[in-house]
């Protein structure tokens, strides 16, 4: 089955995202735009995934649990997981690997944790936008050990793997990459074109498709490069 997708969306848990990026608003907007599969990928945290997953079910969207990791080299690495539990385990690891800095909401923005009714239930204290104290290769291995798939984000742009590291490290056997519209598409990889939306209006239009009908299918698709 062909699915219109956007697999890179930030919720109001990311300090840099708009505060109206609530689970209900994200899923509602994805539904209105005609998308069928979405992933919410906050910076170094899984705390809004459960609410977003529930909200996605309400709008009949296929939901892929994800996190946008920031590695020691300041490479942004998307990670997608087969279950909420696996993503939440990754989220717990992230908390241990983040620098010991508290968020300053006045400077960085609020980090709001929500339930599926779009009610605030907590604020994350740890500053989520720092770099984790693990390198790119270790991060890829950790994601895979939890059953997930690492996908370098916006590879040619700031904090992209190619810009920061010069090239994709062959030893990490990356199978899929995310590129921005108009950027060079490397051969031999599954290619995702997602929005990296930080506000509702930036969520993707139904332009690009991928194959699958479950989260497991999408992960398989991303793992099998051609």
């Amino acid at each position: 089955m062909s699915l219109y997708y956007d697999l890179h969306i930030h919720s109001c848990l990311s300090p840099c995202a708009a505060e109206d990026m609530t689970p209900g608003n994200i899923c509602g907007m994805a539904h209105i735009k005609g998308l069928q599969a979405i992933a919410v990928t906050d910076h170094n945290s899984a705390r809004n995934l459960r609410a977003c997953c529930e909200s996605a079910r309400h709008f009949d969207l296929l939901f892929l649990p994800g996190i946008e990791l920031c590695t020691r080299e300041e490479v942004h690495l998307l990670s997608y997981f087969p279950t909420l539990e696996a993503a939440e385990e990754m989220g717990r690891r992230c908390l241990e690997l983040l620098p010991p800095m508290k968020n300053r909401p006045d400077f960085f923005g609020a980090q709001i944790v929500m339930n599926a009714q779009d009610e605030e239930i907590a604020r994350e204290d740890a500053l989520l936008i720092g770099a984790l104290s693990i390198g790119f290769s270790e991060a890829c291995a950790l994601v895979r050990s939890l059953g997930g798939v690492p996908v370098p984000a916006h590879i040619h742009r700031m904090n992209g793997a190619i810009q920061m590291l010069g090239f994709l490290p062959p030893e990490d056997a990356i199978t899929a990459v995310e590129v921005k519209e108009g950027d060079f598409v490397p051969e031999g990889y599954r290619v995702l074109r997602s929005s990296d939306a930080h506000q509702l209006s930036d969520i993707s239009e139904p332009l690009y498709t991928l194959q699958g009908s479950t989260a497991a299918d999408i992960l398989d698709y991303l793992k099998r490069n051609h």
């Binding site: 020691r72 080299e73 790119f136 290769s137 920061m164 590291l165 010069g166 090239f167 490290p169 030893e171």
Partner: protein, 115 residues
């Protein structure tokens, strides 16, 4: 100026083993964005970077640089160090900041890369 003499100037220790430290340094360079260094690195440079990923070694090897210098006591993992030994690129770690290392290299007469 050889790598060995530069090590004294910047109070550096060598993290690799059994490397030829008599190699001449042609120029000094500092940058942490590896794509930038891939495009602009020069043969014989002493390259200061806080990055320790395996790709640092590949980029230094591509340009046949004289050595890699990690500032502020930064250490490198075993895998890239063994790769650096294979490629013949000494990896040094200095307690000084990148600013101070570059200042001392310039004071010692090491030029910027030829453009």
């Amino acid at each position: 100026m050889t790598v060995k003499r530069l090590m004294d100037r910047i109070e550096a220790e060598e993290l690799t083993n059994d490397m030829n430290l008599d190699r001449k340094i042609a120029s000094g360079y500092v940058c942490d964005l590896l794509s930038w260094v891939m495009a602009r690195g020069q043969e014989g440079s002493a390259w200061v970077t806080v990055q320790t990923h395996m790709n640092v070694v590949a980029v230094a090897s591509l340009h046949e640089m004289a050595c890699i210098i990690l500032p502020e006591h930064i250490q490198m993992e075993d895998a890239p160090l063994r790769k650096a030994e294979e490629e013949g690129i000494p990896v040094l770690s200095s307690p000084l900041s990148a600013f101070e290392i570059c200042g001392r290299m310039a004071a010692a007469g090491i030029p910027a890369p030829d453009r």
